[in-house]
Point group: C2
Chain length 243, copies 2
DNA sequence: CGACAATTTGATCTGTCTCAACTATGGTGG
DNA sequence: CCACCATAGTTGAGACAGATCAAATTGTCG
């Protein structure tokens, strides 16, 4: 699959694109760059002049807090545009780092602005993209604020599973979540040790089935129930009417 | 102060507005409505056809999670537009409720869309508004995920203090945060009892000085330090260059 | 004044953290 | 091709931050 197709596929989880929009996207010049695992794609406190798109692999947005602790704010994969806000907010308030080796495309703010100026539909999709991002953040706030360790981890699994499935990135035998237990802890606000113990319980209870970083959903009803998961907050385009 | 002036003042914490933009804002027809304390301004799972603006009093965005627990996602006061996302996302993924008696203005999506279509500058400000909202959510994620009870509560105080000050809503003798300790708990992911004990410690240590819901900052350096607070994430217009 | 809501206090319990060791696992260089 | 090393996962024991339950006290407002 071509790089531009990944972007298009991703944006079409939000709304249907016309041929002219797809053309415009394919015409965007893109600088490609590969990053090693754990490399900083964009660092905290920098100033971006380009937007990045994840082409391959997985990345995470993060923020450092006092005492060397780190918080993971969101998880991203092929087609995701994790720093759209850079278009309007010069100063980065968080960083983006590679969870696996990744290929990233960089598109200058200038070209994006020029393109959306002539393609109202694209501007709308990107606007919706940014707003859905915010909706996901809200959900994470609720998770961290009022859920137990098991609920939090189960919720992350549910979200990643649904988002990957919407992109066709999950196989019948499961989906790949190449995060260490320490990284999952940074995302769930838990210590690595506790993540380990909770995941053991989830496996024993048949909620998930794991082999390395390949996870399968053992029982979706019980997993999503344990997580108190409701996919509405992802605002995925499911019915033609919402398109 | 007129209702429209509150909106203008709020938007000017983001970027400077020209006379033509201010005119356009004043021309927006607005339906006004008063709500009692704890009333639902917009309920979860509804569909909005109007945006709301807080004119007087305080409101909070919230989400309910399993077991009757509630999470407060953000705190809002005069001039805030807490459901801009409704413009592009039909389905509400959270609710908005009144922390105090509030007056709210409702402006239809249609008029807003028509106005920003002819006022590029206004569209930009609202875009920035929504993106700053998301930045604040990210900060809250980091707070909940990797900070202690005292740090979380201190951080909320810092944020509210700075945001209110930027609007001229804090007096020399302090600022009014009319939330019960139970509500603060919903915002910080803590039990009401623990909020109480932590606030007692903050008062004893001179970080804050409280009389009812009127709070004064005892020692900004020590308070912001205890909270690990850095106002960058608020993206306030501080220097003329960023405007 | 009475009543209801909010705050405060005390006692106990528990989920999660921390520290520390041990066991895979996979990659690298000799 | 194997020995080694680093990284991730696992296990155990103990400590602690914050929750829960219950009661007392202090507003505050009709």
């Amino acid at each position: 699959m071509q790089d531009y197709d990944r972007i298009i596929r991703r944006l079409e989880t939000i709304s249907k694109l016309g041929d002219s929009e797809k053309e415009a996207l394919r015409a965007l010049p893109m600088r490609r760059k590969a990053f090693a695992e754990n490399a900083d794609i964009i660092s905290e406190d920098s100033r971006a002049t380009e937007c990045c798109v994840i082409l391959d692999g997985m990345a995470a947005r993060y923020k450092h807090v006092a005492k060397g602790r780190r918080s993971i704010l969101s998880i991203h994969f092929a087609g995701d545009l994790p720093d759209l806000q850079g278009l309007h907010l010069a100063h980065m308030d968080h960083g983006i780092s590679a969870l696996t080796p990744v290929r990233v495309g960089f598109i200058s703010h200038e070209t994006i602005k020029a393109t959306i100026a002539t393609h109202q539909q694209l501007e709308n999709v990107l606007m919706r993209y940014a707003l859905i991002d915010a909706s996901i953040f809200r959900q994470w706030i609720a998770n961290l604020s009022r859920r137990t360790a098991l609920e939090r981890i189960a919720h992350i699994f549910c979200e990643v599973y649904v988002r990957m499935s919407a992109l066709g990135l999950s196989a019948p035998d499961g989906f790949r979540l190449p995060m260490t237990q320490a990284e999952l802890g940074d995302a769930a606000g838990l210590s690595p040790v506790h993540v380990n113990r909770v995941m053991q319980r989830m496996r024993k209870d048949g909620l998930i089935i794991s082999r390395g970083d390949l996870h399968a959903v053992g029982d979706w009803d019980r997993l999503s129930n344990a997580a108190d998961f409701d996919e509405n907050y992802l605002h995925l385009r499911r019915d033609p009417i919402a398109a």
